[in-house]
Symmetry: C2
Subunit: 475 residues, 2 copies
């Protein structure tokens, strides 16, 4: 299989069955996205009660469309689904994506039977199915999406998600973390195309540099194992598994009718395949941010710019608890600091508590650079928490300058830098905007931003270990 699936992502024409004039309907959004995102092929709304949708002539059935149709998006009720698949067969449709749901996931045997009949007819006609019960494709470069509010800037992260809601959360929240996507596929009940197919495709896809996913069930464990082994040899693959617990497994069965497994089995599976497992959505995004923006580090010794005294203590504890090593200032760097200032030089530590520097005449930048140059440190973490959002007197320009200095240090030294920018809800809109701008400024320059020290430390450690395990980036 693999890259043969590429045609699925490049249809020459797309029809939306159930395209609607009502903005509340998903059939509206699918069609609107094709227009707004600038899909270059032909687009056909299908609706048996409207003559046009969003200014484009509508057809009562897929059968009535004059030209060829490669790809059909279905948002019609499931009682009409066999008629639709027959119409697709008659038109020579290659791919049918079903937003349409209420099949096997309902737990009713007649719904499961309908799903199987749908599969039988599609297979007989050579139609590949995405879904049912899913959002389908988000491929901004091609102009196909299930939402019109996502960033349309193409990127390098490829996503597969068995859940449509989780796919939306990954793209939406990940977008706010600076992630941009090559393609994302929400594939629901995985009736035909499944997780192994999409991973195999993304592994070959030159637009995709890292793969992230949310998986509930495994349709063919042996094949998935083999595909993942090949994928992880080429690109980082970060997966969040739904249904790790007994309660989660129960929820999975009524969501995508999948058979989930236990946490222990999944952990072993990840170890053997080289998959980086994520514990939850927050960690999935943190790891994708790490693999997208952090260069390989040569080890786990971390230099921390702490953000105040208590913040420095907490940073040191959390970094060490997450497997990093905030090692003390080495002798030669200590001599350099002491030469810079006889009082503050011996007092400066790792983490650096910069709140002690008042009246010293020292610049944080110079201290940070002196330490960051030391071969004793492989990684840099900068906690902007206190400096940025809390001091109403702190002008945004000064914060931006401080930030740029920190980014410079990472560029000079080539060492991975994780920025911690507190996303605790700010009190005023002015501060919220200033914080947002600062964060976006950092992300636009290609830096990894995390909301807490613990999450930054965990991502730094896991990304570093990933590269060390593969012999990348060692000193």
């Amino acid at each position: 299989m693999g890259f043969e699936l590429d045609y699925i992502f490049h249809p020459r024409s797309v029809a939306v069955a159930g395209a609607s004039a009502s903005p509340d309907k998903r059939g509206h959004t699918y069609f609107k996205a094709l227009l707004e995102l600038g899909f270059r092929g032909k687009t056909y709304p299908v609706n048996n009660r409207a003559s046009e949708i969003l200014g484009v002539p509508a057809y009562p059935s897929v059968r009535d469309i004059p030209g060829e149709v490669d790809y059909v998006i279905s948002s019609i009720p499931n009682r009409d689904i066999l008629d639709l698949v027959d119409a697709c067969a008659a038109k020579g449709v290659k791919v049918l994506h079903l937003f349409t749901a209420r099949f096997s996931e309902t737990g009713f045997s007649d719904a499961a039977d309908l799903e199987q009949e749908l599969l039988r007819r599609a297979r007989a006609a050579g139609i590949r199915i995405i879904g049912p019960n899913c959002m389908g494709l988000h491929y901004p470069r091609e102009g196909i999406s299930f939402d019109t509010t996502f960033s349309r800037e193409p990127g390098s992260v490829g996503i597969l998600s068995q859940s449509g809601g989780n796919a939306m959360e990954i793209i939406s929240d990940g977008g706010r973390r600076g992630l941009r996507f090559s393609k994302a596929v929400s594939y629901g009940n995985a009736l035909d195309l499944n997780e192994a197919d999409f991973i195999e495709y993304l592994l070959e896809d030159p637009e995709t540099r890292a793969i992230g996913g949310y998986i509930e069930g495994v349709r063919d464990g042996r094949r998935l194992f083999e595909v993942l082994r090949r994928a992880t040899a080429r690109k980082p693959v970060v997966l969040l598994k739904g249904g790790r617990t007994s309660a989660g497994t129960g929820a999975v069965s009524s969501h995508t009718a999948s058979l989930a497994g236990s946490q222990a089995v999944w952990d072993a599976f990840c170890r053997q395949t080289g998959v980086v497992p994520a514990a939850d959505m927050e960690e999935l995004l943190d790891l994708l941010v790490g693999f997208t923006f952090l260069p390989p580090g040569g080890g786990t010794h971390v230099l921390i710019l702490g953000g105040g005294g208590g913040g420095s203590v907490r940073s040191a504890d959390e970094a060490e608890e997450e497997g990093l090593h905030p090692v003390p200032v080495p002798q030669d760097a200590r001599r350099e600091l002491t030469a810079m200032h006889p009082f503050f030089g011996p007092w400066i530590n790792n983490p650096m508590d910069t709140s002690i520097l008042g009246g010293s005449g020292l610049r944080v930048y110079d201290l940070l650079e002196a330490l960051a140059r030391s071969p004793a440190y492989h990684l840099i973490m900068v906690n902007m928490g206190l400096g940025m959002g809390r001091d109403p007197q702190d002008p945004s320009a000064r914060a931006t300058r401080a930030l740029d200095h920190n980014l410079d240090v990472s560029r000079h030294t080539g060492k991975p830098l994780a920025l911690v920018m507190d996303d605790a809800l700010p009190r005023g809109e002015g501060r919220w905007k200033a914080g947002q701008e600062l964060r976006e400024h950092a992300m636009a320059q290609g830096f990894a931003v995390f909301p807490t020290v613990r999450r930054a430390a965990r991502a730094l450690r896991r990304v570093t270990e990933y590269y060390l395990d593969r012999g990348v980036g060692e000193a």
Copy 2:
């Protein structure tokens, strides 16, 4: 000791040594806070180069103040500190709080000697010292604070923090989580008054119903142990320990010159004293929110309103991983649901995926209430994540109505309810405002709001276990 310390919190007059006209200086903020928060006693700015500060006549020395002075806040350089303590002795000052720093925490022996001499002279004159190297008191009801941007509404949470920065973070971020404070004390190097003194005071303080703290070192382990045993018998005590790791311990010594211990020792100490340990600042605030807003639950069986299919699966996994039990819908409640709808009734699960209900005519509220009434459930968790922030078509009024329904269910059943409201950074200001308003609406009605399912589940479990251990709230 204990409540005898009450006089410290009720001075009849306060002088600020180093009061400044420059808004950048902390000596400005201390004095401004007294005026702005409406401190009812006499206030005296002390500054030897200004005739007035913020419109109030200034005195060159504490000695020159005409009336009695109970309480002095020092933000002068430490080279003048012995003169200040002598002046305080001459004036009969009872309490000296030193924002002034650079004593033993610098690691220099002359600075440590100065600190000891300061202590000797203060003791000889009967002056109690808060600090040095700390922010001092925040007591909104009395009109004393170290910041003018905090909420001034008094509350029931008492805080002690060895770090000033962490005290600010607790009050500021905690304030945005709906917490309001009786008193907070930042006590720095704990030269005289220490953690045991403040906990002993807060345990007796009728304004304080829960105690939270950040501690770096323990001055007298035996006394702290005994004080905490007494405190936890009366009120929940949640403590975050700085210096749990070797790196953290190193950072502690240059921050407040304290001797930190190991994680294992601290864990045992918490178990034996009944302290609820917090792993980090996020958990400290989550637990204080839990102890402030959640009634005792009778067990760990949780009903979850999931927020979509994938969100429901993730909620189930995370709740179970954090020690809660999202048990299946029991038979009698199942019959009730099926009577409400023959198709959707059997399909509804715990967690409830409400995204399946389209066209059912069922109201989420009715389903939630039917299940929440069941004795099978002790706790309720509602994930508002998807419903609230992401759908631009979702009018705020509808979200508020949905929220009010959920709150009603908790009120009717008397069961603890944790609301999960995603604080991922929203894209637009409009949504940010709508989300903020909804969150504040919930908090104003006395509900516990958490930013992620995992954090909500952990807080629910720990608060529930706390009460169960004490035999409170059992069925």
